[in-house]
Amino acid sequence: MQADTGLSGISAIVTSVQQTMLINDTFTDTNGTNLTAHTPDIKVSTGWVANTGTITIQSNQANAASGFPYYSIESGQSNVTIQALVTPSGSAACGLSGRASNATNSWDIDISVSGGNLTLTIQEQAAGVFTIRATTTIADPGAPRTVQAVFSGSNVTASLNGGNTIAYGSATSNQTVTKHGINMASGWNIDNFSVTNP
C-alpha cells in the first residue's frame, strides 16, 4: 500500500533547467605539461591562456609552483556557473577567476585557510586593484573544498560545498567578458574545473 503523501490530486509541474557544459577539465595529462599546451576534456574554442605566471599539471591536477598565476579559457558566455575542486596551500587567497579579460581585470572567487578557519570572498579586480565585495568566514571543513561561482548579469554569488553562499549585486565591471579561469598561489592544486551555462 502506498503511503498518503498528502499530494494526491495535485498535479506537480516540474520545470527543469538544462545546463550546457561549456568547459570541463579534469587536468589529465603528463606531469609538467603547461596548461597552455594541454587540451581540456571539453572546450568551446581555444584552450587555456596564461594571463600571468605558470600553471602546469601535476598528478592530474592544475598546480602552481610559484607566484600568483592567472589562467583563463574562452567560454563564449558571460552568464555562467564556474566550479572547481580547490586545494589550498598556505594562507594565500586563491581560487576561481570569472569574467577575466586579462591578469588585472577579473572577478575572483577565492578561499583562504588559516587557523582552522576558511574565508570565502568575492573580489573585484579592476586595473590591478582588489576590492572585497562579499565575504564569509567559517570553520574549515577540510577537503574536499568545492568552490562555485554563479555570474548572472550584475549578480555574482559564491558558495563552498553548496552552502555558505555570499552575494554581490552590482558587478558591472567586465560584465560581458566571456573568459573564465583560475588563480593560484605556490603549492595550490585545482581539479575538476567546469564552466556551464547558465
Binding site: F68, A92, A93, T121, Q123, V129, F130, T131, I132, R133, A134, T135, T136, T137, N164, I166, A167, Y168, G169, S170
Partner: protein, 80 residues
Amino acid sequence: MSTLYQRLRLSSPWAGNGTKATPYHPKFLDDYPATLAAHNITGTPPVGSCQLDADLDQATYNAVMADPNYNTSTQPLGVP
C-alpha cells in the same frame, strides 16, 4: 542548528591597500572579526565609505548597535 543571526545594513570606512594580499575591505570587518558574512559591499575605495549588509550573531549585533562608530549608520534588516 544554525547560529541565530541578524542582518544589518551599515556604512564603514575602507581599510586595506588594494593588493591581492590586502584587498580593500570595510574597516568594520577588522573592528568586528566575528562578522559571519558581509554581502553587497558597494562604493569605490579608498575615498569615502562603503555600504554593506552584515550578518551578525546576536552578541555582535548588540555590540554594533552600541558602538558610536557605527550605530548612527545602521539599518536593521531583521533575521534573514
